[in-house]
Symmetry: C2
Subunit: 311 residues, 2 copies
């Protein structure tokens, strides 16, 4: 559906619940809060329904109004599949009215779907939508959108970054986005504990498939020992992919409920989403995720075997 239809739908409805994906990142949260602020600006009732809000993202909610209403309209942002709704899946699955997303493969069933797979970030789509709807992009909305655009492109490092991405970021800076402060929090700040964790993680590094695949693991024991929270684990996934000669970097994070959350980062020649799809996950060509049950050794073997078929 076109941006025009999305705009008409948003204008024609009210009392919005906006859904983000579980293990939320800057793009899903930036999209959610930007849309919420935009809808409130239009005089609508709106709320973001999160699984969790890591403390680094609290600033996105600064100027949000808490409104008392009953949901009539459900919108998902940056959600590729209803399975990824986490704790909100049971309540909202099958009830999404509008889906705005930028994943290559989107499996959400919704009345209106607007998916732009060539957008580096979902927040790019929202920026164009707001421009089209003549919504005032306030400093607070600009901060939300900048957060999504910068985090989903690794601060404009990754190959999904286009000239359009950079021009949108330029506009957002002029609209007041506090890029330096946001980048500092998202990319340039490590707690002392996280630094200690990185050291431990370096010790788990293993190479497979003629050193083309590197795997690191974060166990619950490590996190407990160092007192690291799960929201301090962001960014670890880029470690194995950065090693010279590695085409496929895999990061395993042990889950409280058993098994592992898997983050895959790849070189341009290997499709991360395709690998993760084999295990019911998804994502983008260069960055994707899935979850696997089993011991560390079992999970590693399954992934390396599947990776071996692709390299």
């Amino acid at each position: 559906m076109s941006l025009e239809q999305v705009a008409a739908f948003l204008r024609g409805n009210d009392n919005f619940h906006i859904l983000t994906h579980a293990y939320p990142d800057g793009d899903t949260l930036g999209s959610g809060y930007a849309l919420c602020l935009a809808l409130q600006q239009l005089g609508k009732n709106a709320a973001v329904i999160n699984n969790e809000l890591p403390k680094d993202y609290l600033f996105l909610t600064r100027s949000l109004k808490t409104q008392d209403f009953t949901a009539q309209t459900v919108v998902s942002v940056d959600v590729a599949d209803e399975k990824l709704l986490g704790v909100n899946r049971e309540k909202y699955e099958g009830h999404i009215d509008l889906c705005i997303d930028h994943h290559q493969i989107n499996r959400v069933s919704a009345e209106i779907k607007h998916v732009e797979a060539d957008a580096a970030a979902n927040c790019e789509i929202l920026y164009r939508l707001f421009r089209f709807m003549e919504i005032k992009v306030t400093k607070e909305i600009a901060d939300c959108l900048y957060t999504g655009v910068s985090t989903d492109t690794g601060c404009f490092r990754y190959n999904n970054t286009t000239a359009e991405t950079l021009r949108i970021a330029a506009d957002l800076l002029e609209l007041g986005a506090d890029n330096a402060a946001i980048n500092k929090v998202m990319f340039e700040t490590k707690t002392k504990k996280k630094l200690a964790l990185e050291r431990e993680v370096y010790d788990t590094l293993e190479y497979f498939l003629d050193d083309k695949c590197a795997v690191i693991a974060v166990t619950l024991e490590m996190c407990r020992k160092l007192g690291v929270r799960s929201d301090e684990l962001e960014g670890l996934a880029s470690i194995p992919r950065q090693i010279e000669g590695v085409l496929l970097g895999i990061t395993l994070r042990e889950r409280e409920e058993g098994g592992f959350k898997v983050s895959v980062r790849t070189d341009s020649n290997v499709n991360a989403a395709q690998l993760c799809a084999k295990f019911g996950g998804g994502g983008h060509a260069a960055a994707a995720g899935c979850s696997l049950n089993g011991t560390l050794q079992e999970v590693k073997e399954k992934l390396v075997e599947a990776a071996g078929e692709m390299i």
Copy 2:
């Protein structure tokens, strides 16, 4: 002097030697090779006179012609002070005709000086100059300029990044700059040896001044043990500054000739250039450098004492 005067000077002269600063980075090299390619495009003789060319930057020279000529005109790019010319200082000091730079404090004596301290990268100035001169920004020139713009802004992370910086980067992408490949080499690639070195460096981390100052050190012994070359040390300087609560991150690199090369990275409230100026160095508000003689302990004490007066 205006860009117009710089343009007239370049058009009116020939047989250029272009000087970059010692311990070269992406901005001085990107500037040097971009200018060299542009002058050759205008039918001039030109060569970049380097101290060294780390292998990661070899791609900047791909389409450069080697020309046989005697230097008549000397241009420095991204050089704040003739002291920073390294091995070329003796030959060229006092003989620079044109200086193009973006450092806050520039001490080069030259007939024509064009310094824009608000440009995030020197390559930004060159992009505007080439546009003004109607020089065709080829894919190779775009690669050079993108390298400078991205490396001097930490790939658009640092607070020197402006809307103009991002728009220039967008233009360069459209002109063919291979951003993903360049970023991968500059920011996303670590040799296995470097990863091992990082682990060692983490062990040297010390906090001072109520944990507002963090210091790491790389000794010659570490480099020898791990077989790491000096051009593999880039990026280490960002480690101490990234730690939560640290306003001032100091990285010490032991020099073959004795003493230490010092890299200072700071939060917006502390001026790195001011600190380094106390020891005869210089740079930018958030990133600066100097060299100090003495043992590791002595150098650390001097720097921490000077830092204490500023925090």
